[in-house]
Symmetry: D2
Subunit: 355 residues, 4 copies
């Protein structure tokens, strides 16, 4: 059941990188919600590969085929199923991965867990390609949340240690429109530096990581539950399903550990008949439940493990050390394409909490 997520809804992701198709089923969605497929496609294109010089040249159009659950432009109450057939499939590129696992990838752990029966081509079920069906589900949830006045938007907070800024998004009242479209940063100069860092890494047969920061605005107070089903728990369970995520923090996150209580506590205040907080170190969540302020979290993404540099690995059959040269071409930085994926994950978790 590892590929299933949700409390009120149930999302199942299936597929392998080089299998016949990737896809998803989404159950528990009320009937009568409108589906704008053009808008969805626009969203999916943000994640799709081959769109810029900063991403892998593997070309997939990522046009979902809906098999069920949608009728005449509206959800019909039955489970929604959609698939994206894979075109660029199984090549010889991955022949030796079962014997010689790539550092930083799941090749070795899959070999142990699935005893050699796993589909190792392109990482199989562990591939970043599986974020495409996640974005189908998330893109739908984003549409439905928008109709309730909820916006979810990410920017690249850091790449290779280069922060977006100095102007930042106000945690109390963030201007989400300040985030640029093509390369989603607030500060374009910072964005240029990030691009340079990616280009440099690529030239050096290397890769870089980064941090994506997500804002959800317009949320009602009262979403989420205490203990194990709080908004942090729900978001964490889905966000850690995105490959390459190694850290997740809410509000001021790790920085709260260095604040005094009198600094970190967000004072309540009445403003125009509403209860707000003057600061937002809590990231919009208290006791696992939204307080009506912007929900904010940051996600740390590791540098793409597939690099062209020669690396040290092992031959599992010979049980001896060996050098590994990964062929094929890969994203030198996953962060740009992760931006819509994190938005999708947040949308699914929040929409689930609202059902």
């Amino acid at each position: 059941m590892s590929s299933t997520y949700g409390k009120s809804l149930s999302l199942t992701i299936f597929g392998q990188s080089h299998g016949a198709a990737v896809g998803m089923t989404l159950d528990g969605i009320p009937a009568g919600l409108p589906v704008d497929t053009e808008k969805l496609q626009y969203f999916l294109n943000r994640r799709a590969p081959g769109q810029s010089q900063f991403t892998t040249p593997r070309k997939e159009e990522d046009i979902p085929q809906f098999l069920s659950g949608i009728l005449d432009g509206y959800t019909c109450g039955a489970p929604i199923a959609a698939i994206i057939p894979n075109r660029n499939t199984r090549s010889g590129d991955y022949a030796n991965l079962k014997d010689c696992p790539r550092p930083g990838h799941a090749d070795y752990t899959a070999q142990i867990k699935y005893k050699g029966y796993q589909d190792s081509a392109g990482g199989g079920h562990f591939s970043g390609r599986l974020t495409a069906p996640l974005c189908i589900a998330g893109g739908l949830c984003l549409q439905w949340l928008e109709q309730k006045g909820i916006r979810i938007r990410c920017h690249i907070s850091e790449i290779a240690g280069i922060p977006d800024g100095p102007a930042i998004l106000d945690p109390v009242n963030p201007d989400l429109d300040a985030i640029k479209e093509a390369f989603p940063v607030v500060n374009e100069d910072a964005g240029e530096q990030m691009k340079n860092a990616i280009t440099t890494a690529f030239k050096n047969s290397d890769s870089v990581g980064g941090i994506v920061e997500c804002f959800a605005t317009g949320l009602p107070a009262g979403l989420g539950d205490p203990m194990f089903d709080g908004m942090e728990n729900r978001i964490a369970q889905i966000v850690y399903g995105i490959p390459a995520v190694k850290g997740l923090e809410f509000g001021s996150g790790f920085a709260v550990s260095r604040l005094l209580g009198s600094e970190n506590n967000d004072p309540f205040t009445v403003s125009e008949g509403r209860i707000l907080t003057g600061t937002n170190h809590a990231g919009g969540i208290l006791g696992g439940i939204t307080n009506g302020m912007p929900l904010i979290f940051r996600v740390a993404l590791k540098p793409t493990p597939s690099i062209a540099k020669i690396q040290q690995s092992v031959s599992l059959s010979k049980m001896e050390n060996t050098d590994l040269k990964i062929t094929g071409r890969h994203d030198p930085c996953i962060v740009l394409r992760a931006v819509p994926v994190v938005e999708a994950a947040a949308a699914i978790a929040i929409f689930d909490a609202m059902l």
Copy 2:
């Protein structure tokens, strides 16, 4: 179902801070596992309040009463149920919290969600007191894991920005016995500075936060599942159920975002017939699945929100700003008591994954 955790086991936590009792049920545990109640009590005492000058003087002995599931010192296959009756209960200390929510607490969000019916005394179901039954379940899992050669141990990695160290625990081969007993740091000088920071905060009617770092050693490779049931996801879902947690990172965590791929990828190597990695930036997890290296994560805890300083809040009935003075005495720093709680949470998640 917010207070229920687990895939193969099912843990339910119940109780309110000032109710009749707190407790837990733990279902899905195989029959025939031995239960050492003395050892469990020793573990629970590490979390119990009133044990040192650094924790709240509220006195609770935290001796669990087992109601079911254990017979003659062994699990019998039926759900385990245990309660800890509350002795220090409902005082007038919390009378006005429904109208005037404490900044940084769940008072306001509980009021919105439960419409005034919530038990607000002492934070009710949101209280840190609910970590006592979590520690019953976790203390049992720790025993059962130890029998399989698995150790789980935390140290205080930071308090008030003061890091444990400079000697740190090697992520590849950590010496868990280097962690001190009473105040669990590796470096006692660092520990003394932390204690001073807590004392200073307390004198200033304030509080401080910190970071707890957890190590699990002796794990087999192959635990966990891809996507939403990876070890990161499972640990995140339970750890974010601990009050005050605002950040969670695995392995090198947020720092991986600033590494090159060639730095971050842990090279595989054969050593004495076993596959190891030369570094451990991954924190023992690749693709959600353990790789046999130490599993490492860090948890950011905010400063205790209950401080003696006057704070700004609101009167919900009058919808106007008001000053709030919190009476009663509280932990100036929750980090010390959080250490066994994080160990318990890790043990539950890992034991669940092993079933």
Copy 3:
């Protein structure tokens, strides 16, 4: 997780027949629902043993102690926990059950599954005593359903082959008040014959079974879901958790297999601005979803397996046949006490579907 039930709510039952206590936790209940403990006690007393000559003389008062989740007479949103301490516990009556399993009981299967670690006294976790906490949860749900105009009521449809009747309850418009209080049949003469059959069985050191029929009226149309979460599936999952149940049928049940389609199809009709059906062979459920007609099901209960007659069993240690004489006193017929238990189970399933 075998002892946990529910989709929107989560009910966990714990305890063994001769352990310290039996109890339940009930999570996912909205805050602000009133709890009438007197009414609950009245309901629990209907199930309690020792109330008449037709039930076991084991005396348990079955007064629940609420540990959490209820404050000042209302649910507070936190998980509800309640226990009933066992008074009449562990005697020598059950000493040899591990070696010589009772026919018709779970002694043998528990021995296989729990490898001798199970609590065999009184059937342990398999005991009918575990229906007491089920009735706590169900009694609460019954109260909350009544406030919405929903009534759930069972009568004894058969004991030892003797049917209630000839007057029966109209499936389209049942008069639930026609069911008698103390011995819940519609026809008192039939009830007297049933009592005689029980008395006769008891005198012969034997036992009898029967059928309980359950009606739920006042249900809105639209409850339940297609496929695996239909009302039939939901009710089946909880009803088969009641010991001794071996059959369950909805509406006309097994009899529909002998009807023509033109007989079995309930014709729709408009009556006073509402859609009704002229007959109710469907038992109020079409496609798993309620249609607004009375929901009706019947439960077959086997004769109490504990009988005073000498029976053939085996010695597991010697692997040879042996005679078994069960001592202690037992219900010669479980059907009377099962009536409130079936009502409780139906109430939990229906309340869960309404959340």
Copy 4:
């Protein structure tokens, strides 16, 4: 989540009768299990329509396309996904079902629940066509169970009140090979009478129902769990997901209610070093757990609700009574095609319990 089943595995069924495709995902299956697609196709053909004069002439080949989870003839550990594209789709046959619901169908309850957004063509997600993907999952589980020496086989126990027999299958030691292939009864004369009853019903523009009896042999003792996850509960949850099922009984089922305890209790006996029972009224299940004897249950199926006779229904828009004439052709008896479906459901439930 209504269309998702399983504890250790997770089966999701999707599709509508006249949508693009029907399909399933099956998660939680271990890697390395062989898949015999020819054998699977043979099994699926038993359910497919248009195979004989006794079933609907709608022609669907029901050849599944596997999209993921299977590699080189073995499961690879990733979720298995398979679809069957619909060829015979959306016609005008179903145009008025939203306004004029068919008696005995889910048209009315779907209209209430999904507010007019449901896909009503051919019953949409409620259609018997959704049993095709159930049979994909079940057909795979049957293969994997067979490798462990477990056989699951159903016969038609009754159609239109005509019983299979007089020779019946011994509940203690059933000869499953006595069940005929094409028309699965034990007694061919009885089978001929059943066929005649179906033909007669069809000529009369009517339909008939029946009872399917299922046997599972070779099961180990110890499968299943107490209370809500017993084998009865698990099987009930999936079997009630098959359209037209209105009753389910285990072992002697409803008949046990008329037996004495001394008759119903199955005596234990030692035979060739194994523990058996002399009779099998329990149907192989005690306390929810298998005892190693054949697991036996019976399923009551209602007559096909789609009949050519004019029936009484209502116009929902006009809120007045109206006559309904169902066009198109339908199975006059669903029982024959239900046989492999019940086998599939049993296989899924049992395989899930074995994981």
